[in-house]
């Protein structure tokens, strides 16, 4: 399963919450796969021949995993189509599921990402925090699970300085357990932020929306409980790209940060 590449996720037009990560109690196997297949069937009908691209790591993982399971079992496909028929839908096995980072790295490539640059992120030292689900179990073509380099290369492509060492690069932020097990997750988050500080980073960048939220939002909680003074901005990779491509701080949604990324705002304002 780990080797099979190039499938995908959630269509923003038909998008359903892909409830894998914490839906495992009530949901079960077939309901989970069926709601993913509903998206695939819609994509096949309304956007034939096009890839489904997910920006959320968990959506990508859930959808791609469902697709691989359906590709691998005629019985599962039959049962899934029985469920889809309840809404007059049918899934034929098409619709490639991909993550946006796959599209950027594998289709555009680093040279392609450099081409539209108007500004360099020169002088910014950035910790590339890859986290779990854009990295495991599928990941980006040609990258290792233990030390993937694509995010660092992306930072460098945009003119920033990537950390050469960052022990917490693929550490789990706690995921959905940040809600249900706050103490245990905040220990994870503390390690991730602390290591970024230790290596002199000025901000953290991540390709996963939940990592972005968890690592940014809970810093104030950790400060309160553990007396740390964390104030490390955490941005999503597209925010770096927007600034490098000449967008304003608002275009890059930097006004949506809880911990302001002031150095990035400054570059955006130049």
């Amino acid at each position: 399963m780990q080797d099979a590449r190039h499938q995908a996720d959630r269509d923003s037009r038909t998008g359903t919450a892909a409830a894998r990560p914490v839906g495992y109690c009530e949901g079960g196997e077939l309901p989970r796969i069926a709601i993913n297949a509903r998206n695939f069937a819609q994509a096949e009908t309304h956007l034939p021949g096009q890839d489904i691209v997910a920006t959320c790591a968990a959506c990508w993982l859930s959808a791609r995993e469902s697709k691989e399971r359906l590709d691998g079992s005629a019985q599962l496909l039959k049962e899934t189509n029985e469920a889809l028929a309840a809404a007059g839908l049918h899934y034929n096995g098409g619709a490639n599921v991909r993550h946006m980072v796959e599209v950027l790295i594998e289709d555009f490539g680093y040279d392609g990402l450099k081409a539209p640059m108007k500004k360099s992120l020169e002088g910014l030292k950035i910790a590339g925090y890859v986290g779990c689900q854009t990295n495991r179990p599928f990941g980006i073509d040609g990258e290792s699970f233990e030390n993937p380099m694509y995010l660092d290369k992306m930072v460098e492509t945009l003119g920033g300085e990537a950390l050469s060492k960052y022990e917490q690069k693929v550490t789990c932020c706690g995921g959905a357990l940040a809600f249900s097990e706050p103490e245990k997750s905040q220990k994870q988050i503390r390690d991730i932020v602390e290591s970024a500080y230790d290596h002199g980073a000025e901000m953290i960048v991540t390709p996963c929306p939940l990592c972005q939220a968890n690592v940014e939002v809970y810093q104030s909680e950790i400060n309160k409980k553990q007396g740390t003074k964390f104030n490390m901005p955490v941005v999503y990779y597209s925010q770096l790209m927007t600034v490098a491509y000449g967008g304003s701080a608002k275009d890059a949604a930097l006004d949506g940060q809880l911990i302001r990324a002031e150095k990035l705002e400054k570059i955006a304002g130049k």
Binding site: M1, Q2, T14, G15, T16, A17, A19, P21, V22, G23, Y24, C25, E26, G27, G28, E29, L30, P31, I33, A34, I35, R38, A58, E65, E79, T80, E82, A83, L84, A86, A87, G88, L89, C132, Q133, R136, P137, F145, V170, T171, C172, G174, G175, A176, L177, F179, S180, E181, K184, S185, Q188, A213, V217, Y218, S220, E221, D255, G256, Q257, L258
Partner: protein, 207 residues
């Protein structure tokens, strides 16, 4: 004891491995475990569970039904997939742990009040209601799960975070009025109901 649980005990007698293989997602892979322990050493929540995946797999083979299905370990899974990519026998460990959690939950044997079990249940019901997650209601219901008093306390503790997200336009207060949903919600519900019906029939959850 639930009927489904009584039926399962009756049907599989002392062969718990067979029960897991038949009813738990990816359960047929359990017997491939060679007890190396890489999963146990790879788990970010390692210090917090009672049994590592390695132990769970051996306990399944040893027929420790009550201990496995009553364990809190499966609910400590953050879905980080570290164990799964490192497993030398390529067991889909993450999926087996989720499958065991689901099976234990459906049989009514999972630990009561386990916070991740409760949150997962909230999450699924929230997502299924409109076909999209209503993050505001999910958060509120989570904080108020233990009643009004503890809810107010917990929500006040997280007030600065909530307010910050709201000010940054990352939490939409209008979602309290029901929130947004998918097109053809009726069809969406029909798909979920049918899928559940098929699965319940196959796994013996129907009375």
């Amino acid at each position: 004891m639930t009927t489904a649980n009584t039926n399962a005990i009756e049907r599989y007698r002392n062969n718990f491995l067979k029960e897991v293989e038949a009813n738990v997602e990816e359960g047929h892979m359990v017997k491939m475990c060679m007890q190396c322990g890489v999963c146990a050493g790879s788990c970010p929540l390692g210090p917090h569970w009672t049994h590592s995946p390695q132990k769970i797999f051996m306990m399944i083979r040893a027929g420790k039904r009550d201990e496995v299905l009553g364990s809190d370990s499966m609910f400590m899974c953050t879905s980080c997939y570290n164990c799964m990519v490192r497993c030398p026998r390529q067991l889909p460990i993450t999926h087996i742990m989720h499958g065991l959690a689901n099976y234990a939950h459906r049989l009514g044997l999972a630990p009561k009040g386990q916070p991740t079990r409760d949150f997962a249940t909230l999450f699924w019901n929230n997502a299924i209601k409109k076909g999209r997650v209503n993050e505001l209601m999910l958060t509120l219901r989570h904080y108020f799960r233990g009643g009004l008093v503890s809810g107010i306390k917990e929500a006040l503790g997280m007030q600065s975070v909530g307010l910050g997200l709201f000010m940054a336009k990352r939490l939409n207060p209008m979602e309290i009025f029901g929130g947004h949903g998918v097109k053809d919600l009726k069809g969406f519900h029909a798909i979920v109901a049918k899928a559940k019906e098929i699965e319940d029939r196959k796994k013996g959850f129907t009375a």
